[in-house]
Symmetry: C2
Subunit: 109 residues, 2 copies
DNA sequence: ACAATATATTAGTATATAATAATGTAATAA
DNA sequence: TTATTACATTATTATATACTAATATATTGT
């Protein structure tokens, strides 16, 4: 039996959020649960591609799903997921501002 | 010019934390700044390997550094980095508990 | 100027990830 | 029972990532 260590599990969980498409999916799900078709239509992606990304996140335990007739409805299981995306955005903004800051210094007075 | 879009930048930033070795490095830096040699000795990794991971995180803007003689001291630039690791650990614990929960139900009474 | 030390960079290779296309499966409708 | 719809899975291929080993660079001490 090969139980991956905690750092690896933690990394895999974070990795589940480390893709632009998966971030877009999660942001869509922030507004509530959605079926697969809504997701790929909304984001203009291939059904298969979306399905694979969903299954990856499901595997990492951050998504829940339920069948509703033909549809499969997905939702984000932990609010921490949104919190992580928000924190990343904060840092991104800070980074962008600090590089812009350098530009401003150069063009100032 | 190929300016990567915001979701890609956000994903790259998160990806910088999505590796067991980089998580271990950041956890070490949680206790304060460290030189490269302290890091690779402490974590029993190759200097070159650590250097590459550091440079990746530096590139994503989450690490700061300063030269001190021969040494280069690294530190984490944003507390958000630690917050993200903490949130991921929370979810990991919840996941582990919920799977253990299933086991308990099976062995109960 | 030369040696030693700390770190960075590069090249090479193995492995992982992602996208597309094709096929499979399960639920409902006719 | 057959067709249709929604989704999942698999195979293939391209690209990205990570590790090791080797080499380069920069700083300090002699």
């Amino acid at each position: 039996m090969k139980t991956s260590d905690l750092y690896t599990r933690q990394a895999d969980l974070i990795k589940a959020l480390a893709h632009p498409t998966r971030i877009r999916i999660v942001e869509l799900l922030r507004r509530g649960e959605r079926c697969v078709c809504e997701i790929y239509e909304n984001l203009e992606l291939e059904q298969s591609n979306v399905s694979q990304h969903l299954s990856l996140m499901k595997k990492q335990g951050i998504l829940d799903w339920r069948k509703e007739g033909l549809r499969v409805m997905y939702r984000v299981k932990y609010p921490q997921v949104f919190a992580i995306l928000d924190l990343a955005r904060e840092m991104l903004r800070a980074e962008i501002h600090s590089t812009l800051g350098v530009l401003n210094e150069k063009t100032a007075e």
